[in-house]
Symmetry: D2
Subunit: 353 residues, 4 copies
């Protein structure tokens, strides 16, 4: 076996929340202190969001979550009507989820690689590292190229990232990258099938960016596809207008958090009196003290008129520990039993900008 094959031999496996009834554990945490109590309260707020059937749930994703084994949690939330729209970094959706949908995997790296001791050798082997996880760079290039093909097949005009990601879902169906055909399930596929729109407000900042750059380079002087980030914002704001009660379930901060919070103000700019997000949860390890958005409290967001103060909870914990517990809690409490999917993607098809 070559060194590369050896290093890429233990795949990351996605945790399956349906197999772990964490309700008693999380209930016990609610009587403790610190992060466990915060986590239990967040789980409780997520349950409330789902039982409030008026509420549209927006899931925000930042940080490398899919490569870390959280893909199936999110697929399960989508397929069980527990999330209605997604705002994400491009990496989670394209480099990691779509990448796995194409048949590739992420790999467990040995502890000795975590702090960079082997990076020069990894470079030689074309292995990319995310902290304690490996990726085959050659496979990632195939992912880049696939996004170029999808770009080439779309009409040469401005698209929202949502429209592009929907085309990625169509691609997976067309190519048979579905569980029905014996392949893995994915967020892009599940969202496509359940009409859950996915937005990546900085869409070129990922594997798709490489495909888009190649597309635009090849089309110089001709009609070409572009990615209109203003259209993303316009569309997401339409969801707030169509469905006034909203809740945010946020993993990490960054652009997805800010973008989803801002639609309250954007609706107002469009002349629609919009209520603040009624529910908000954020799981993060970021710190409040550098003033950056990622670690800023939800209380702070309320000063901006974006998030209501009544049902908000920060959970300062790493997502692989906290997210399965929160999502699993709502899942096993059957919080979405009375809930139907909101199929926002369908409504957005008729939005014209």
């Amino acid at each position: 076996m070559t060194k590369k094959n050896e290093l890429l031999s233990q795949p990351i496996q996605h945790i399956d929340i349906s197999q772990h009834n964490v309700v008693p554990l999380v209930d016990a945490m609610s009587k403790m202190a610190y992060s466990s109590r915060d986590l239990a309260r967040a789980a409780n707020i997520y349950e409330m969001m789902l039982r409030d059937t008026e509420c549209g749930v927006i899931l925000c994703l930042a940080g490398s979550l899919i490569s870390a084994g959280l893909q199936k949690v999110i697929v399960d939330l989508i397929r069980n009507n527990m999330v209605d729209a997604i705002v994400s970094t491009g990496a989670n959706i394209v480099d990691q989820d779509f990448f796995e949908a194409l048949g590739f995997r992420h790999w467990i790296a040995g502890d000795e690689y975590k702090y960079g001791a082997g990076d020069a050798e990894l470079r030689e082997l074309m292995i990319d590292r995310i902290y304690d996880t490996f990726i085959d760079e050659e496979e990632l290039r195939i992912c880049d190229e696939t996004t170029e093909k999808i770009a080439n097949a779309l009409p040469p005009k401005p698209h929202s990232s949502r429209e592009f990601i929907r085309a990625m879902g169509e691609y997976l169906v067309r190519e048979g990258r579905t569980p029905a055909k014996g392949n893995a399930d994915s967020i892009v596929l599940a969202a496509y099938e359940k009409n859950v729109p996915i937005f990546c407000p900085a869409f070129s900042d990922c594997s798709a960016g490489f495909g888009l750059v190649a597309h635009q380079h090849a089309r110089q002087g001709k009609a070409m596809l572009s990615i209109d980030s203003a259209k993303d914002f316009y569309e997401l704001t339409q969801i707030k207008i169509l469905n006034p009660t909203t809740g945010l379930l946020m993993i990490g901060g960054g652009v997805p958090k800010n973008f989803a919070q801002d639609i309250v103000v954007a609706a107002d700019v469009l002349g629609v009196e919009a209520s603040m997000h009624k529910y908000a949860i954020q799981i993060t390890v970021a710190d409040v003290r550098d003033g950056a958005l990622s670690g800023s409290t939800l209380k702070e967001a309320s000063s901006w008129g974006k998030v209501d103060l009544t049902y908000e909870q920060m959970v300062y914990a790493e997502a692989t520990l906290a997210f399965p517990l929160i999502a699993g809690y709502a899942y096993h409490k059957k919080a979405a039993a009375a809930r139907k999917g909101k199929a926002f993607a369908q409504a957005l098809e008729t939005v014209n900008v």
Copy 2:
């Protein structure tokens, strides 16, 4: 005096690195341990970047830096040929720098507001809070509206964020919001005048987003302006191709860090054998252990072929402490004495996508 005026009475004042010769202090730090030694090494690498006149310096900005008093540091770097391109979150450039260029200020908040105790009242008063700093929301709405006016005046087609921000610079000149006319200097203005391109890869995720949403809403069914994030990536990659030796000076992580790192790979996708970023510094308080990009080490980036291992340094410190010391060190060592501005913005005017 009303309560609102009282709360908005002590303005944030931007530190002036030209007034503080920190060279002996930073040199002393190089013989100590922990963050001080790391900071000194980073200052030394920034000095090397500037003395290497082949090197194009890309400044990446994430986190609320301008509101925190770091505007003048960046203006001084631009005006002294110490930075050649900027990649930023939208908030720094539009909501904070352009906002101050329009004549508005940020305000010191009392310690008792830091953790959210007064947020309900701030909401009533239309005061927005960033940790320990206040903003007048009514003034921020004027900033939003100004970006709509600028959008309305541009040709109704896809633009890169760089093109839009350049139009913001033109607007400032046209409106006399310049030091020559007795007004404050700004990053947008200085960059416009020095032909330093500014990119915001998630451009709708800021005050400009509100202007753009309003613009697109008003133009429904007609020709309208859009923001092409793929074009941003294409243009920034052209800089790497035009000027192969590059260095990154990064404050915070997020999209700007990823975007700027990725151009090495994007050049490769366009068939140009590009060298890794030769120098790289990052100031951050983010942690490596959640696997998120913001805290990921520059060694990790080298596994991706993006950053060379020889001259890289993470500085785990809050930017208001660390950035004036690093920038001031290079400034007072006159590291850019033999350097001319690279005026990349001019070269980009001829790029056609």
Copy 3:
């Protein structure tokens, strides 16, 4: 109901690991990334420690853990032969565990108190706060006074903290503060009954300190009890000499971590060739970058010859989340099935210094 009673109405309840079989959950985490994978590896190492029946397990406690709902986890470890010696801050053992053994409780504080907004009022009400938890200061004074009584009853000479804490256990038995008499179980009691020695190397730095100061003040010029921290170190070192194979299960860092690590070197000073700690786990949120001991890696400890590199794992997570999972994993895997208590306290009775 008075305001004080209202604030002190929801007691912290200690999590019961016997009720939550976390084995499948932790096993799933071992295939993920970041903290979850680290946690799973730590749980696995704790299991190994226990299956290695030669190994003496030393539990180190720092941070306010008992007030946070972790008392019963530790009681269960003691009663199930899963820990052989404890090194702790005084607060955990005296102010929190012994305090609860006297019949007092810790109370859940509302979220609005976390950041200090109500501290002036709490002062008036004689309510002490630990982040999100309340304590009745008048009850704490009773705890202080009880330690003075215990001091007064002991022979007036130097004692190790272990000897004093053993006397606290005797006190609980004598006073009927036992489950057999319908009262709560406690760490001090369980350790007394199971002959598990407890050391607090900075023993005056807690509620007992107040009792000791009062004792010494009353005895001025007469024979008095003193607390010999050198004797603590001598005794703990004897354990290493008696039982060469050792493992560390550390929650938090600080003095307990350093003290327990150091006995390898101390044995060497006494002329006994001691092996490094064979197993070591630490749960902490502290950071490595300030060079402080609390966040220093176990790899670093290996450079000092204190901890072996083969089976060590840092888990960067808050203890209320991580400790029940790690302890519960070993508990439900019945890792201690073949293990007997080592009753080190008995052996120490014969040590003369």
Copy 4:
């Protein structure tokens, strides 16, 4: 040159605050945001503490500060009447300061050692590592042995750590380890000469612990020296009683922070109505969210009646960056000009317990 000599070739050099007038820099920081503003306020409070000539200033030290280049800052504070008592971890005082006073040095480690990649080799070479700093373990053993000699020479009865550390100062004078004899200055020496008492409440938890264990082992069955941590607490409380107005200047948290805060309550236990610490500053990177004492806010301490709310400031920054700025600010503002040393050590000589 052998590998060991090569690794131990670049000494840590202690920063000299008298050489850096940081007043204008810190004043500029007071108009910014985040950590810089907090730091400026802390510097201002330290200045106030010193100008309030009634105030006794207690310096608390935790974390490896002396090895990091902060020895001379503290020596200068002592010699310039800017600190009246010190509470520290043992490592700072014995393993690091006294160690350097004996003529040994700390050494700069290459970046590649920070994360443990070379620890197995360091073990072979008998080099101990503190994050990015090296220590010669053979020299450290000499330090251990010196403390045994000092123990052997003292009367065989309970001593406070303060008494022992005073004997260490005497030892340095006797052996000519003084600047007057061409040797380095040290904290232990300066404190001895200026009658500034130094307390290490967990005194066996350091190099001295090894010496004490050896001493007690050799004296089995005979009269021996012991370290009475209760006496430490009693003595420090006497300072609060003698000098009611007090201020805390804390670097790091841990035992020193708790111990110094607690003397307000201890005075009360002795029947003396003591005021809370009037001023308090803490520099730390610890986090509030795990409820541990190290990161707990000074507001929280006020709920315990230990610290007054009016003049308190947390500075969340690493000490090598923040402490020279805060100490240097007060130094260059000549805040102690009207101040005399309080010579608390003299008063304590007459305390009998």
